[in-house]
């Protein structure tokens, strides 16, 4: 079975990661790339200025970039990936949904809308059921699923693993890589020999998205998880890989070893791009791990790595890490698309 796919916003930092991940994918075949007006009509090779150290894949290099408009997409395309800036996505996505496209979107608009599933396949696949609600309420023929922000994705699998111990509160500090802001999002003069606190709207995203991902869906409505979440988000001079310090308040009082086991044994999904072991955990002997440069490529950038698990007065503190443009962006949308196929929405 092959599914023809298109990428909206294919020339940017996340768009290039989509292209890279589709190279050799067993199900998805790239049929169409779109970008902003100044790229339309040029070959992808010319428009994208390929910036990854791997070679630009042959199947996309000479493809002509199209307009970001349903009318410009070939008829046989069944599934759309979106990595558009959120303000543009807010305009463009409904047009595709009305035309009946199934869309897996990395754009941040509408992530908290009550009828749009925000999904990590290993965590909350059942939330896809919101698509029925969405179709009814919006009159769409298509289906829209969103993945969370990169900083949220890094943390949530470990929180899900801890939920058995009664998750009550989370304080989290992030050390985020520059690629999270897009290719030109951070000037060298801003970040060299420096760190920038309180970046963008990352903090509010983490606080709300985490509660939605961990929430209960009863088939009709989604109830947010009731843990208090407070986040402090910092940009640091790393290229890829978000490292996060997590302090949790827990109802029960687990030993660090039990927490490490819960993380290690947290079940992954049976999807092509899902790692065999979702969360790799470093033990007491390596408290200095995970580290961005050494650990971001775990499971080809699709896994989460944790470590430094220790007791605090009323809970557990630990560190976690994921590759922000793979597991945290393009890979997250790809996984959601694989889930959509698996569950018969495509």
């Amino acid at each position: 079975m092959t599914v023809q796919v298109g990428i909206l916003g294919a020339t940017g930092a996340v768009g290039q990661r989509f292209v890279q991940l589709l190279d050799g994918h067993p199900i998805f075949e790239l049929a169409c790339v779109t970008a902003s007006d100044d790229s339309v009509g040029r070959t992808y090779r010319n428009a994208a200025e390929w910036r990854l150290s791997s070679e630009i894949p042959a199947f996309v290099a000479d493809r002509v970039v199209r307009e970001t408009d349903p009318a410009a997409v070939p008829d046989d395309v069944d599934l759309i990936f979106s990595s558009l800036p959120s303000d543009i996505a807010a305009d463009v996505e409904p047009a595709f949904l009305e035309e009946g496209y199934v869309m897996s979107s990395n754009s941040s608009n509408d992530r908290m809308a009550p009828d749009i599933p925000l999904t990590i396949p290993e965590i909350n696949p059942s939330h896809l059921g919101l698509i029925e609600v969405q179709r009814e309420q919006r009159g769409w023929d298509g289906a829209l699923v969103k993945n969370p922000n990169c900083s949220t994705i890094t943390m949530v699998p470990t929180l899900a693993a801890l939920d058995e111990f009664g998750l009550e509160s989370v304080n989290v500090s992030t050390l985020q890589a520059v690629s999270g802001a897009g290719y030109s999002g951070v000037a060298a003069m801003e970040i060299m020999d420096n760190a920038i606190p309180h970046i963008g709207n990352e903090e509010r995203k983490m606080e709300t998205e985490a509660r939605k991902l961990l929430g209960d869906f009863d088939g009709a409505e989604l109830e947010l998880h009731d843990a208090d979440v407070a986040a402090s988000c910092n940009r640091i001079p790393t290229i890829d890989g978000h490292l996060e310090n997590v302090f949790t308040g827990l109802a029960s009082n687990p030993e660090p070893a039990a927490v490490r086991d819960a993380m290690r044994n947290f079940e992954s999904a049976d999807l092509h791009s899902s790692p065999e072991q979702l969360i790799k955990v470093f033990g007491e002997g390596r408290p200095d791990r995970p580290q961005p440069r050494l650990d971001r490529s775990y499971a080809d950038g699709m896994g989460v790595v944790a470590g430094g698990v220790e007791e605090t007065t009323d809970g557990i503190q630990y560190n976690c890490l994921a590759h922000n443009t793979l597991r945290g962006a393009a890979g997250a949308s790809l996984l959601n698309a694989e889930l959509l196929v698996e569950e018969g929405w495509v």
Copy 2:
């Protein structure tokens, strides 16, 4: 009035900062520098390999480096600064104390000893009273005062300002500069495009030292502050300046504006190296400050800079920053020495 001083461990990263700060100091006059055996007998210029961008001060360049031993120190020296590695300091410091020297030490050994004052002059000057206890218990003629770890110093002035709101708990994440590990403490290959969590023993130091600094001294015994403190300490690729994300639990429920005011109005000390305003606070308009490269030089590196003050469910979160080798190390010892002089211990 002039006080002759010596520096133990004068050639290292902190030692060079001591030398820099003593250049033009109105009270202290450098009479003696010591270092490890391979430097003894060489000029300071040759032994230190001066690494600051300011010129090596003329008053020290041709001075001969002496042994780190009371016998090698000239008779007229009244006050000793120590920036020795803690294992060496544990051996050497008592020898100087027995000889009657007054010592202001940056070394981490014995900071939590119940009879040794751990002091930040603007925060807990009254703890100097422990010197009487110390003399009685140890039979020393001298006096030993310690300053806390650089990561502790960065945070504690802001916590002291918050104490009026009922400080109950602290979760703190640090983004620490490489100079905190000494000149060769962090290899370039470790930290470039990377961050290292759970460094050294910084976390335990922050958790215990903060409670001692904020504790009550009744003239005989010191009681630790009863706030729960949990720390997560990270090294990042910055040269100087520790940035910290602080989440506090508070008994009362202050507005961010009240917290900013409490920080801004927190009283400084009337000492030569103490800034006029101890804590500079950025308001709502600049949530992206403080930043290490832009703010570490506030008040010649002797101040603390805070920002990003926001409410959380049960308290306040904010960010703070200080220069780790000035306010956080050499400058901290210097300030303690100025306090010792001011209060008549020298």
Copy 3:
């Protein structure tokens, strides 16, 4: 004597350095700042987003930004500094010159025009004589002087010092800081863990500007120096300070010691912003200097630092360094303005 000055393009990276250098200047008094349309009408504080670690000077913070147009400049302004992008400068500068303004410009347009002096006061002050030629040919009432590119300025003082040995050829490689491209000129993702060769048009600028600066002006025409110059320009991950490796072919065969002496003894100019010793030279004992972070602040960023002088088969190789936004840009224009005043053109 006080001269009222204006800065065109005052909010950018070089513009902020102009403001910083004018703080406390004995002759120049800032009367006017201009910037692009989106800044016009706002206070400098709001428009500039001050990015230097020193505080924004009080004398400029609340000044209203004006249009970059002669009509918008107050009548009592006698001298204009320009740090406009070269394409804008090409349009705007003639308008000011026709209105009779004296202008010291850092913009790169027209630097090689035969009737426009390209000047470093310590090297070729006599080239100011071209102003007469310029007035005659262009019918301007004003006077326009340019300073060279930052990478050229770094090297030319040392070449001028070597000219007594018969300078025949120059191969030069640069290691340039990101600030040379303006505040947002280099994205973090481009330069972290990376270097970029063959940047911009720097190479052609170095090759031509150097020959003009070292050329002979006979009172009527300027003859370029006949040395062959080939340059290779690289951007590296440093914030400020250009380091350059220079290989010279010389007609005579000097010892390294003689070359070091020629550099050290090269005469500086008697102007406020000119350093007492123009070129600081490290000897054989410190072949690893100059280094950008340690040496860019020599003489408050207005000096040149050289080192690593060694013989080659047909000449001398060495390294040199200067602060690219001080001596290499804003400071260069300021020095030229001081020369214009000194020589009576203002």
Copy 4:
């Protein structure tokens, strides 16, 4: 056919690259790892503190580290790789040679000895003939071949390609990565926001090794190439990949296009680890390449990448790049070992 191999100095930065490259190698099977005394008797996993982002290969993880001594090496080992520090290698290598081992060494001692082949298989395989001379003069049963320094290897393939145009002189500036100095060779505080000129003995190595590699071996004696070579070597803040700016003086006057063709068509060797195309060349459209982060992985780190080819007054200037710990160190020794096998010396 399988050859049992040992690695001397297997725990260091280059040693770990040897281990990585031997993982899955079709001919070589790792039989033995040695290291310094404090590692002897420990498992490789414990002794090496694996620092590459790939996982530590299973075939070596639990192997016990042995002494660096012929007596400690198993009998069936036929070929030895050495990445010892040069001072230790100078003592240890002869002991292995006397015992009859064939050794491919990356250590810098004795590279210029007239009877020791310094080889890059694609450049000067015939120099292996020096082994006969070596055996005769030194009475060794074994055979010793050296590879050049990483900065030399980066440049020499392109110079070999240019030799048809009459290579007369070379001025070369390097921008070298920190991994070239070993894992702890460069402190973060030395290199962050900085560059260090005139490093180590790299310049003399480049100047002499290049002439030996390009020299003529008549079966009895080796004559150095007569080009003048002057090098200026700089450390910059990159992790892997040396970038070099090369200015050549040539007897003939080729067009840049002819030079690019000569580089592209330069023949590779028919060995397992040799790339199909030895030199990848960027054309006029991408003068900003090669760049370390984007191009160091060309041909799995075993190729050379060139670009920016331009005419100068008497020759050609261009840039080149190679991965310094793969093609420039462990991979270079591996290739030499493959050549030794191919030519029947093992």
